[in-house]
């Protein structure tokens, strides 16, 4: 029976080890993500952002490790704090800034903003705000690919500790498990859902324990450690890719900023911040690179300057771009003109 095959097939084939170039590539994307987000925070404080700003500071190592292991033909549905994973999957600094600054030239054309962006035709799904909703959507995309006879593809989506409490998380992961779909669900356990601590979010000992309940493989990672994240995601993604069915990855880390830039983060438990889970994954990655002798401090500083220059130049460009014109929007929610309402009030 196909179902039992997915659950019992031996997935012991070791994945390729993470090399120096892999690590450095991931680090540069993390760095870009951090610098873009710092720019977004500055622009927010300057009142130039349309709507809110939601940052992934502290979650870059986990997020980049998801996006970097996906290829063309795969599906990725990132969530709020996945700027690094988005860049790794092929999103750009340009489109990030366009969406936040409300440029008409952005992928969402001003119709949606900030983290609600994507290019679904390219396998890059645009999240809706309702947590858990992207899990069945990715599962369905994978089902369609299977029905169309495609092979070797995976889909991944990210969520937080809070999102694991939704019905959509349960329904989506269970349905994907029933069909043995190549889905990787990555949980960034960042200790808070907005202000709600884990003690008010779930009562199980560890979120990864949920994997057994769904009959899927579970993986744990140290979300502050880039090498561990890369190794864990490489293993999980390759297991899904070769027929191992859904994979649940849970990484512990701390969101190092408020829920959004409007949030003063006053609820942060200082002991958490001082504990290992409160470490900054980007700083730890820099220390690792220097300790390994792969780059020196000067070279890393040069990377940072280059990236800041690129981000600043891109932001200056985007600020001169046209904003959406209400006169130009067709104000139509259906693609097919013959099925649109003809008599709606103006």
């Amino acid at each position: 029976m196909a179902r039992s095959l997915y659950k019992t097939r031996n997935m012991s084939k070791p994945s390729e080890p993470v090399t120096e170039p892999d690590y450095l590539k991931a680090y540069r994307i993390m760095l870009t993500s951090r610098i873009v987000e710092e720019k977004l925070a500055n622009l927010y404080r300057a009142g130039m952002i349309k709507g809110g700003v939601f940052l992934g500071r502290g979650q870059e190592a986990l997020s980049v490790s998801v996006g970097i292991h996906l290829h063309r033909g795969d599906i990725f549905a990132p969530l709020i704090r996945d700027q690094a994973g988005r860049l790794a999957f092929g999103d750009t600094v340009l489109d990030t800034l366009r969406t936040y600054l409300g440029s008409q030239l952005g992928s969402m054309r001003g119709r949606d903003g900030n983290i609600h962006r994507g290019r679904p035709r390219e396998g890059y799904y645009a999240m809706i705000s309702h947590l858990g909703a992207m899990i069945p959507a990715v599962a369905g995309g994978l089902l369609a690919k299977r029905l169309a006879g495609e092979q070797g593809f995976v889909g991944a989506t990210c969520i937080g500790d809070g999102g694991t409490s939704t019905g959509a998380f349960h329904e989506g992961l269970n349905a994907a498990a029933v069909d043995g779909l190549p889905l990787v669900v990555v949980v960034a356990n960042n200790q808070y859902a907005y202000s709600t601590p884990n003690s008010r979010q779930y009562a199980c000992a560890d979120l990864v324990d949920k994997a057994a309940g769904y009959g899927v493989a579970g993986h744990k990672a140290d979300g502050t450690n880039l090498l561990d994240c890369l190794q864990t995601l490489r293993k999980a993604v390759s297991a899904a890719r070769v027929g191992g069915g859904p994979q649940l990855v849970v990484a512990n880390l701390l969101r190092l900023v408020g829920h959004g830039e409007h949030d003063d983060f006053s609820y942060l438990d200082k002991k958490l911040k001082q504990s290992p889970v409160g470490s900054d994954c980007l700083l730890l990655a820099e220390q690792h690179i220097i300790a390994q002798g792969w780059k020196n401090i000067g070279e890393l500083a040069e990377w940072k300057r280059e990236t800041e220059d690129e981000v600043n130049a891109t932001a200056d460009r985007v600020r001169r771009e046209p904003t959406p014109d209400p006169e130009e929007d067709d104000w139509e929610a259906l693609s097919r003109a013959e099925y649109r309402e003809q008599h709606t009030a103006p």
């Binding site: 035709r121 705000s129 693609s335 099925y339």
Partner: protein
Amino acid sequence: MITYLEAIRLAQQKALATDPRVFLYGQDIGTFGGAFKATKNLSKEFPGRVIDAPISEDAIVGMAIGAAIEGARPIVEMQFADFSTCALNQIVNHAATLYYRTGVPCPIVVRLPSGGTSGGGPFHSQSMEAVYAHWPGLVVVTPATVEDAYSMLLEAVTIDDPVVFCEHKFLYYHLKADSLPETSLPIGKARIARQGRDATVVTHGAMLHESLAAARELAEDGFELEIVDLRSVKPLDTDTVLASVARTGRLLCVSEEWPWGGVTSEVIARVSSEGFGLLDVAPMRVNAKDTPVPYHPDLWSVHRPTASTIAAAARRLLQI
């Protein structure tokens, strides 16, 4: 003779046979053939394309959305329209917003076995069309005949946008036709189901047949009702409604839904604002009573509009 239910099964069979992108997903629809047998034998005829789902309405529609993004044409079955509330989030926040937000259409069909039957009770009887019509980004259809059940379902599969297909359970078994149509009115066009000079009745779904029965009753007294079958409630064919009211001067709207914010409210709002001068008297409407749908047949048969309550309303409208 082909029943309304069989027409839905045959439309799905034809869609599967003619379009390799089509697949069916829903609870008990595989070997079992569905709670109402609307997919009977289809899993055998189309192996791997008629897929049983867990009891997860939200995930069922969510998966259909992802599949549609990847180029498939999923038809999903809610076992009863009432349970589609568990999928409301995916339908109205994901499927309905996808095209406007991303420019990528979402061609899914969500089948809703709708409306009341004797003994159905509060959770197996609801009419959800006005709920879904409220959100932009959805096409909402309500076939009232065997022919429309067949042709509108086939058309729905070709539409690049999400379609909520409200098929009426009361019509499943007793509504029959000799053959299936080769051509039909497109979705979005209403149909004059009966011509009449004295008043316009605008209705849809199972209430078409109650309204036609009411019209026969009034004809015995020498009054002729014109019956407009909306066919789709969104888009709503306001032109056909206004043209009929222009001929009769009187409007009665009939729907099995609850009254607040329903199809009758929308039709009356449109006629009043766009065709006020066409009306000789104030428009009227007949809806279900504003309570949950009762279980006992004696209560249920009074809860919903019937030929006799529609005829009584028409007499008041005609001041006879």
